[in-house]
């Protein structure tokens, strides 16, 4: 690893100031699960590392009926997995976390780093988008908030500016009569990064007979996590049937752009998208039927 200067700001303002001062040469360091590997491999060669872990106030997990679930950028995968608050209000997240990487990565890897890395083979972004999540971002000019889907630009590229820090993720309280399901699949070992990850949220109409609207979010099968709008349109306004779920899966499998690699060929991943969307849609629907 190449040498670098190491800074430990005590506040978000100070951190953004340092990032601005060393623009183009600095990187934010959180858990390092992504960063240290790329630095050892020489793919990232920052001259300055800005460790944000000493900043207070970025570690909260809290829920209230108005804002929903707030997850600070420094919250680790393991903290989400074991949080009673998360389990109570968004069990889908706690469940998904059990399958993220291995215990050591979960102990250090943070939510902020998971999103800000722009790495396509990850799990949380799909779920956050299905849940209409927003991220809050601090910069020298103040705060801004954007939907999670607007964070991603391309492979390993996000819309974060060089002097900005992602401070939290906010998931609004789930709407009435809604259900959400995430299914991820690792094609090599259980602790490998996902080959395909699909999140579906279904919201039912007041009579619970038909779907009001749906979110179908595909991860790992394109440069950025993306919504399968065709599949979503197919589900909206319809009554549930296995055939409908199958058709939504088929539509989604045509709406992604997977690349063949060690985790499966392009055809294989499309077939997985089809199957996982079908399963996730059926489960989300069932959950929505039983939801308040």
């Amino acid at each position: 690893m190449r040498s670098f200067d190491y800074l430990e700001p005590g506040s978000v303002e100070e951190a953004c100031g340092l990032l601005r001062q060393h623009r183009g040469e600095a990187r934010v360091y959180a858990g390092g699960a992504h960063l240290t590997i790329l630095m050892k491999q020489g793919l990232y060669r920052p001259r300055v590392l800005v460790n944000i872990k000493k900043i207070a106030g970025l570690r909260e997990i809290r829920f209230d009926a108005e804002s929903g679930l707030v997850i600070g950028a420094l919250v680790t995968h393991r903290e989400i997995e074991t949080s009673a608050v998360v389990r109570r209000h968004f069990p889908v997240l706690a469940e998904a976390e059990r399958e993220v990487a291995n215990i050591r990565v979960r102990n250090v890897g943070t939510v902020g780093g998971n999103l800000a890395s722009g790495e396509p083979l990850t799990d949380l972004s799909q779920i956050f988008i299905a849940l209409e999540g927003r991220v809050e971002i601090a910069g020298p000019g103040g705060m801004r908030a954007i939907p999670v889907e607007e964070l991603f630009v391309d492979f390993y590229q996000t819309s974060l500016q060089e002097d900005e820090i992602l401070t939290k993720v906010v998931l609004p309280p789930p709407p009435a009569r809604s259900g959400v399901c995430y299914v991820r699949f690792s094609s090599s070992s259980v602790v490998d990064k996902p080959s395909v990850g699909v999140a579906v949220r279904i919201r039912l109409q007041a009579d619970r007979d038909a779907c009001a609207d749906a979110r179908v979010v595909l991860g790992c099968v394109g440069p950025v996590p993306s919504r399968a709008r065709g599949a979503e349109a197919l589900l909206a306004g319809k009554e549930f049937s296995q055939e409908l779920a199958e058709r939504a899966g088929e539509a989604a499998s045509r709406e992604c752009s997977p690349v063949g690699d060690l985790r499966g060929s392009e055809e294989y991943k499309r077939a997985m998208v089809r199957t996982l969307v079908r399963r996730a849609a059926a489960k989300a629907w069932e959950q929505a039927l039983g939801a308040a």
């Binding site: 040498s3 670098f4 390092g32 050892k40 050591r104 102990n107």
Partner: protein
């Protein structure tokens, strides 16, 4: 640019002046001569480098030494106490849960973190928790038995 860090290593306060690029694995092996933690994959996959930082299993290969500043580190060398081997160490011997031993410090420390959190894990919980540690000699069945028996099951 160097930074002085203070770390409690296996119960003893120590300090070191390190370059920020020093990994935790380099710190324990090269500065503190604790060579139980091994370098394997170098990308957080295999678990051969596992140490416990503030009670949590981490990959020493991919965590910076500066992250341990002010913290407590446990390596395999610190596990045996006055009374001899730790129950997990004894169980690994009794069940033949190692051949070459390269993965063993990582497995035992990860299992310790598990038992500290959850003294009576089910087989599934043991498997899930240890899934990120690889044993190339393939002692998985014996490792499961050893952890089970150390948990008093």
């Amino acid at each position: 640019m160097k930074k002085t860090i203070a770390v409690k290593v296996n119960g003893i306060e120590r300090s070191a002046e390190v370059e920020p690029r020093t990994t935790l694995l380099e710190l324990v092996r090269e500065r503190f001569s604790l060579t139980g933690a091994k370098l394997g994959c170098d990308i957080q996959v295999c678990g051969a480098c596992t140490v416990l930082l503030d009670g949590k299993a981490v990959s020493a290969c991919s965590v910076l030494a500066v992250d341990a500043d002010g913290g407590e580190l446990l390596t395999i060398e610190g596990l045996a106490g006055e009374g001899g081997l730790h129950p997990l160490q004894r169980a690994f011997m009794e069940h033949g849960a190692l051949q070459c031993g390269y993965c063993t410090p990582g497995f035992i420390l990860t299992a310790k973190a598990l038992l500290d959190e959850q003294p009576r894990p089910t087989d599934q919980e043991i498997r899930d928790y240890l899934a990120g540690n690889f044993c190339r000699c393939g002692c998985y069945r014996e490792i499961l038995q050893a952890v089970r028996s150390a948990a008093g099951r």
